[in-house]
Symmetry: C2
Subunit: 208 residues, 2 copies
């Protein structure tokens, strides 16, 4: 990939794909950048610019073929294959994620959850086996998961992250409300509810 693509662009591509799938299921054949923009709360120029980083997929005067563009976006986003996921931390958030249908739907296969709590080890979490965190390294060597989801308490997150990174996993989805340090070749995305809530608090406090 020649140019570095902005994070915001990738997020929008993800949103476009969701609308396209909606359109696809309703049997629509083509869609214009304008229609796509309205659904995504952006502008048609933005949509065209986003897509232009990856090629030219439309037909002037006509718009985009819905199935073709959807296919291209899946390809760009790397959704053409199955990604193997492990969840670390079998608490409430881990459980909520384990049953989240969006994972499987998009090709994310949850292999297992890991925890240090003996009462949980050996149980099932929404059908997914809970294993002893002690066997993490061995399992990773064998199962080769691509993504680790961290749902551990904030004060353990960095330590667990370091351990996960050492196994060679290159993508982390972190739910701990902590800024994590990782090597440059490891991608960490953090979902921080506390931060979002404080953003709402700020908005409520500082409005004209």
């Amino acid at each position: 990939m020649a140019k570095r693509i902005a994070d915001s662009t990738v997020r929008r591509l993800s949103a476009y794909l969701r609308f396209l799938e909606d359109f696809e299921s309703r049997g629509l054949e083509t869609i214009s950048s304008e229609e796509l923009a309205q659904r995504g709360g952006t502008t048609s120029a933005q949509v065209r610019k986003d897509l232009s980083f990856f090629g030219s997929f439309g037909k002037r005067g006509l718009g985009y073929s819905v199935p073709e563009l959807a296919g291209r976006l899946r390809e760009i986003l790397g959704l053409g294959r199955e990604w193997k996921v492990i969840i670390i931390g079998a608490g409430k958030i881990g459980a909520a994620l384990a049953q989240y249908r969006g994972f499987r739907q998009r090709g994310f296969l949850i292999l297992a959850a890991y925890d240090a709590n003996d009462a949980k080890i050996g149980q099932k979490l929404e059908g997914i086996p809970v294993r002893d965190i002690a066997q993490l390294e061995r399992d990773v060597k064998q199962d080769r998961p691509d993504i680790a989801v961290l749902t551990v308490p904030g004060d353990e997150a960095q330590k667990v992250l370091d351990r996960v990174v050492k196994t060679g996993i290159k993508a982390i989805l972190n739910f701990a409300p902590t800024q994590l340090q990782a090597p440059a070749d490891v991608t960490v995305k953090t979902v921080n509810m506390a931060m979002e809530l404080e953003g709402l608090s700020y908005a409520l406090t500082n409005r004209e």
Copy 2:
């Protein structure tokens, strides 16, 4: 507030506050923008610029007083008061949120959860009462919650949002993987796990 503050700035303030609380609990008195920056994965100039939008809180040659800056940030973020929160959708994600300690810790008080499922109504979700969504309007009039958290399926989210907006609630935290339309005076923050996962998929697919 004179100038409009960027979303990214507010998120960083929120991160700075977290570090400051950590420093505070360790009894440290002052901190430099450089130290704050390292913890937050940013630069000292960024830290100073962020703070400069709201005033000048530091002492040249010395740095910032930890307790003072923490207090200022709490004030700026509107964390000096209690915010009343309702959760709409008593599923797994709702349950995970209901038990999340971060809410109470930061002054967010969860009043109730709402659901349409008779089996859930009247139960407790982590100690929080689950009420009939039918009585939403009446309850809001009485309890005056500030924030609504939406944990409903994607295809119902817009409908539920419209209903919530009509009650006069001005701040929404949305967990449905859907782009929502709301009036300009209502702040909507969306936490979209599907989007984050696809961001990871993209990163894994397109690396040098």
